[in-house]
Symmetry: D3
Amino acid sequence: MTLGHVDVIRRSAALFDEVIVAVLGNPSKSGTFSVPERVQMLQESLQNVPRVEVVGVSRGLLVEFCREVGAPAVVKGLRSGTDFAYELPMALMNRHLTGLETVFLPGEPRLEHISSSLVKEVARHGGPIEGLVPQAVVPRLRERIGRPS
Amino acid sequence: MTLGHVDVIRRSAALFDEVIVAVLGNPSKSGTFSVPERVQMLQESLQNVPRVEVVGVSRGLLVEFCREVGAPAVVKGLRSGTDFAYELPMALMNRHLTGLETVFLPGEPRLEHISSSLVKEVARHGGPIEGLVPQAVVPRLRERIGRPS
Amino acid sequence: MTLGHVDVIRRSAALFDEVIVAVLGNPSKSGTFSVPERVQMLQESLQNVPRVEVVGVSRGLLVEFCREVGAPAVVKGLRSGTDFAYELPMALMNRHLTGLETVFLPGEPRLEHISSSLVKEVARHGGPIEGLVPQAVVPRLRERIGRPS
Amino acid sequence: MTLGHVDVIRRSAALFDEVIVAVLGNPSKSGTFSVPERVQMLQESLQNVPRVEVVGVSRGLLVEFCREVGAPAVVKGLRSGTDFAYELPMALMNRHLTGLETVFLPGEPRLEHISSSLVKEVARHGGPIEGLVPQAVVPRLRERIGRPS
Amino acid sequence: MTLGHVDVIRRSAALFDEVIVAVLGNPSKSGTFSVPERVQMLQESLQNVPRVEVVGVSRGLLVEFCREVGAPAVVKGLRSGTDFAYELPMALMNRHLTGLETVFLPGEPRLEHISSSLVKEVARHGGPIEGLVPQAVVPRLRERIGRPS
Amino acid sequence: MTLGHVDVIRRSAALFDEVIVAVLGNPSKSGTFSVPERVQMLQESLQNVPRVEVVGVSRGLLVEFCREVGAPAVVKGLRSGTDFAYELPMALMNRHLTGLETVFLPGEPRLEHISSSLVKEVARHGGPIEGLVPQAVVPRLRERIGRPS
């Protein structure tokens, strides 16, 4: 979870009546943090943002979750045309399966350099991750994968 | 105005509380139809779509209009990554000027071949434009620029 | 194998004298189905398409296979500009090695949401895969990787 | 007409039974050369390429011409993903109108710098256009738009 | 001339021994400002940047100018992959003609919304152009094309 | 290491005062050759190119290495707009971390088909790799991963 994600959530919350942040577990790979850990960090980072709820989703397709909670659309941040080409088949598949729409918000340029994989690489080498991830994530990410800086 | 535009408006109306379709006049080039003509055709094409209002805007920046009517975001259809690269600076400029957001909806693939300029070219050669533009536009476009088919 | 592949094969068969569908085994990763299984399913799915032959190729470069069977060109479906950027070096490498050409057919937009990986993900969660893969593939894919739906 | 066009035509002629080069007049803008002049130059440049015919088409849609001559597909050269994004709606529109297919051949990288507009700009400033356009075009283009070099 | 141009020039000056800013006149269209006016504004905006010289070039190809002044490379800012696809043929043509190289600097994301055409549109409607163009340009652009704000 | 890399290094050496080729070890995956092997092969391939030094870097971020050796910028080859979209976040991250700039050189089109992964695939099947990698690499790559041809 990076400041880029937080920015997209924050801006979504200003546009929509209710925003549910779905933290999806991926059974086929073990991420840096577990689903409950990620839910916890997101809740801390978003605690002053109204109309946002963070929910962990351990299994199932995104479309199923959205149907259960009554969400008519998914919001995604978009950084480049290549991003869009990657996201488009997923958006169309979701629409095909249940009619779920996807709306894209252009990413904040000031945060364009922040991708999860680059942040992890910086952390792994003990580089400065302040200004890349929310304050609540900094010490945990450093403890989990970083060298002492 | 094509079926692609109508599709994006229709899907926006299902997601948002209120959709205002702004028909912008471009003083530096004379389009095929005037602003009032375009407003009229859009109203006919959208008359069974709830929560949509069509408004002609003869002058001024889009951000000014949105501020006047209290719109927090613009909705745009997106067909390809190249589209996004073209739209991005405009979206960021609008955010810079007044904080106006832009949300992108992926275009409906079944309508991907329908661009305004291609439709006009088909009409100009008397080709079949049914299935490309709304029914309300077919006879007027044919009368305005098409050869008798 | 998805309906997208079948569509490109079908349209190729309408344009070219003879179409050979090469099912390439990848020794470095074990796919969902073996080469003979994929050949079998393709043959069932394409049995009413004239001028098409399905062949399993267990080893070697694609250019070698094409030289053996006398194919002057490979046909690939293309969904986006990003697809093209990915395919281009391969196409140029094949031309460099043996003069083998690559011709690209734009994918059918109605099938744009269908990628192999997304179909597998839908199947893995027991979602509906009818309308995504040929009828001959549905039960086998569901049996192989899907939960009971 | 550049060496890039000639290369795509030449390679098409090696793949297809018959290639018809359609020189389309554009009534809304006057090009550097008239349709008959362009037909003449193409014929000279392609005289040793078998199975190629050059035809001037003064009016009508490309799909109509293809239906008249019985062409099932159009061949286009493709230089980049952005090219593809530009060509795709046209290809899909042609398929929508009459079922006409479009097949794309990747451009020859050695000729990637050669676009019609850049060649004209070089000619306009009296730069060397040998190696950019066919030999038959060099003196005529220089006479038409170039300064004496 | 925008703050984006100034940023690329400034960063180039930190990397290269000498930077010559070539202001090219375009005989086929009359810009908002003449070549001498643009040279004057650039000089004012860059007066505290060392190793930069501003030169007006009224005629000829860019490659000729670079050969005359002994410049081995051109520097261009790059905002997106679509930008690159547009710039690439020019870069390759210049290399073909005289061996002139082109090096690309990624644009500053904070300035990504600033394109010349958008700035002019903002100015035309009397919008705020401070923060988009250098201070030396603000009053002149407003006088030339803007409404009183 | 391919002829594409050598080309970019060679052209960089013609533009910049000093070029340091950093061979980065990747601890999380074992490449085809070790860092010392790659340094050795690069030195052999570049021995007649002035102003170029090859250095193995076994650990740490690229920005740290550049700060240690005083390099103000990284040079990268760029083949397509998709390449740029991939490289851009890394370039911006490096600028964020230490101010390190990235300059992009467009790849040589004649070498556009040469990517490391394609070369390895050709070698794995015993195909001809002369003309794809430097002469110093041919026998070693064939010995390491190729079948006898």
